[in-house]
């Protein structure tokens, strides 16, 4: 008898429950008199994710009825969704490309750029490597350019040891890869390809840590967390060696590897009170929250200026 009941439940009740649940769902909560409600949807770069995640967390504590979602689909993937009108805000670790602006325009979506923080791409070495503490942009370019034949450290500078170089870096889908190749090699996505590539920066940390002759690069937040296990390579851009640090990234002397992080918003979406409130919250709290997740904030006045530049409420 048990089995019969079971059959009835499984075949009749389960699909019914499904249909019922499906019908009940999907009601968008509109504006609520008492406070803000509704959805704010964010997607895009994994590098900017920690900042938007922190903002989303704090914003929802302050506004418990607003639902903020943050996804990771990469800067390019994020723009695809943003331009299709699927998201309100897009995280980006590089400026929007002309082709993406076109795509947005086709769908009648306007993209407004707001810089939210600085990141310093950090070139890292194994701590046992006590020679390559500073490299020039030219040396880095010779090492990383496509077809580079440099295999040993003494091929870069003759007084460096005759030891094999092992290279680690982000994979080609990453915005970090785009930026590094552009800033160092001089052409976006131009890189030698005989290096260990990983989308997971922790893999790169472990790789460089375990290999004496190794060198790699990734975002400053990962270096800061592992600075007891890795050494940074200072970068000489013609004005002497500058090591990556919060101060040098903020004042722009750590060049050319300091890069801005952006969020892109649809001006239309600002008509939704919860989206406007979120963007204002973002800019008002960036000075406090950005450093907490390992990035360098812009000057406080800059955030105030950006806040003032937001299109007026409709």
């Amino acid at each position: 008898m048990y089995t019969r009941k079971l059959i009835r439940v499984l075949f009749v009740a389960a699909p019914l429950a499904l249909v019922a649940a499906g019908c009940g769902g999907g009601d968008e909560q509109a504006g609520d008199e008492a406070g803000l409600s509704g959805m704010v949807s964010i997607d895009g770069s994994s590098t900017v994710f920690p900042i938007s995640e922190a903002m989303a967390e704090e914003f929802q504590i302050a506004n418990p009825d607003v639902r903020v979602t943050v996804g990771i689909s990469g800067t390019g993937g994020g723009f695809k969704k943003f331009c299709a009108g699927e998201t309100d805000i897009s995280n980006a670790s590089r400026p929007i490309k002309p082709t993406e602006i076109e795509l947005c325009a086709e769908n009648g979506v306007e993209a407004m750029e707001i810089p939210v923080a600085w990141d310093g791409l950090t070139v890292v070495r194994n701590p046992a490597n006590d020679w390559a503490t500073c490299m020039t942009v030219d040396e880095l370019a010779r090492l990383w350019q496509p077809g580079s034949t440099i295999e040993r450290w003494n091929q870069i500078r003759e007084d460096w040891p005759d030891e094999e170089i092992v290279l680690y870096g982000p994979d080609t889908d990453s915005g970090t890869f785009d930026y590094f190749t552009e800033a160092i090699v001089g052409e976006e996505d131009a890189s030698r390809d005989d290096y260990t590539a990983s989308a997971d920066d922790n893999v790169l940390v472990v790789g460089v840590e375990g290999d004496e002759g190794s060198i790699g690069y990734f975002g400053f937040a990962y270096y800061e967390e592992s600075s007891d296990r890795l050494g940074a390579v200072a970068v000489d851009n013609g004005n002497g060696c500058v090591a990556p640090a919060r101060e040098t990234i903020e004042n722009g002397t750590y060049a050319p590897l300091s890069r801005p992080m952006f969020i892109y918003i649809k001006p239309d979406a600002l008509a939704k009170p919860q989206v406007r409130a979120f963007v204002e919250f973002y800019l008002n709290n960036a000075t406090a929250l950005v450093p907490e997740v390992g990035y360098v904030p812009l000057a406080t006045e800059k955030y105030e200026e950006l806040l003032g530049d937001l299109p007026a409420a409709m």
Binding site: Y2, T3, R4, L6, I7, L10, F11, A14, P15, A17, L18, A21, G22, G24, G25, G26, D27, S41, D43, S46, F49, P50, S52, E53, A54, A56, E57, Q60, R67, V68, T69, V70, G71, I72, S73, K81, E86, D200, D201, N202, V205, A221, Y222, E224, E225, S226, E292, V293, G294
Partner: protein, 289 residues
């Protein structure tokens, strides 16, 4: 034993037997050792984070404040909907193929295709789900779209497992049922299904436990990474345990890697409970002939 013909090479044959046994022992030992290493490693990092707070809090950028509530609820929603979609479809297809379909080239073609589908990489189902459920049907990046995608993913296995269960029902049972005047539908409904059900359920639960660990297709259809609310309807955005684990292991701070280990323990426990349920169901309802 007195017969001389039994004696030649006896020592050698016995040795071969002993070697084979040893090889089998090593195989099982290896599998268990890998699992044990995983469990020990994960427990060492993750156990101290396990607490009621960890289960009942939303994710946070501060490790001490972070929890997996939205991921657990998302996974539960996902499983309930996936089961609701794949079970009736899978069992229905199996009943048709086993009980109704004529044996001809067309059903053989269907059968081959179903077996092949079981081997398609899960990311392909993700792309399919993105095109069909997210975009075409307009489900958006919702629990429903994710569940429909995972249901497709496990459907071939559910169908095959159900078919095997139906095949195991002795034909004498069907013939006896026809013999007392039952129709085909009555025979299936009152004789065949009750007998096959434990096997069908076991197969379904085992394939659901595969679905609960899936990450790739869900990332493909755009399941989200940071969610600090519980889904309240099938159209809500969602996250699941494997995605939360993936997100935490990618963070720079070591504490998050330990949190991920904690979430892995929770996922392992959920899997264990599901597999135990499959065994209990099988033992409780199985009839032998």
């Amino acid at each position: 034993m007195n017969d001389a013909r039994f004696l030649p090479k006896q020592a050698k044959r016995k040795r071969a037997g002993a070697i084979f046994q040893a090889v089998c022992l090593v195989s099982i030992g290896f599998s268990i050792a890998v699992l044990a290493i995983l469990i020990v490693d994960v427990s060492r990092d993750g156990l101290r984070w396990l607490s009621w707070d960890f289960l009942s809090r939303y994710p946070s950028r501060i490790p001490a404040r972070a929890g997996i509530k939205s991921a657990i609820l998302g996974s539960l929603w996902m499983m309930a909907l996936t089961a609701g979609i794949s079970f009736p479809l899978g069992v229905g297809a199996a009943i048709y193929l086993e009980e109704y379909a004529p044996r001809n080239w067309f059903t053989r073609l269907l059968q081959t295709n179903i077996s092949n589908l079981a081997g398609v990489p899960s990311i392909v189902y993700g792309i399919l789900g993105l095109a069909i459920f997210v975009r075409f049907f307009g489900f958006g990046r919702s629990v429903l779209a994710g569940a429909a995608t995972l249901a497709l993913l496990i459907l071939p296995v559910v169908i095959i497992a159900s078919q095997e269960a139906l095949k195991a029902v002795p034909n004498s049972l069907r013939e006896a049922s026809y013999g007392v005047g039952a129709t085909k539908w009555q025979t299936i409904r009152y004789q065949v299904l009750p007998v096959a059900l434990p096997g069908i359920l076991t197969g379904t639960i085992l394939s659901l436990s595969r679905a609960i660990g899936e990450t790739a297709p869900l990332i493909m259809i755009g399941a989200l990474t940071f969610i600090a609310f519980a889904p309240t309807s099938p159209m809500d955005p969602f996250t699941v345990l494997p995605i939360q684990i993936f997100n935490w292991t990618a963070k720079p701070q070591a504490d998050f890697h330990d949190l991920a280990a904690g979430a892995i323990i929770v996922l392992l426990v959920v899997l264990l409970v599901m597999n135990a349920a499959a065994i209990v169901l099988r033992n409780r309802y199985q009839k032998r002939f």
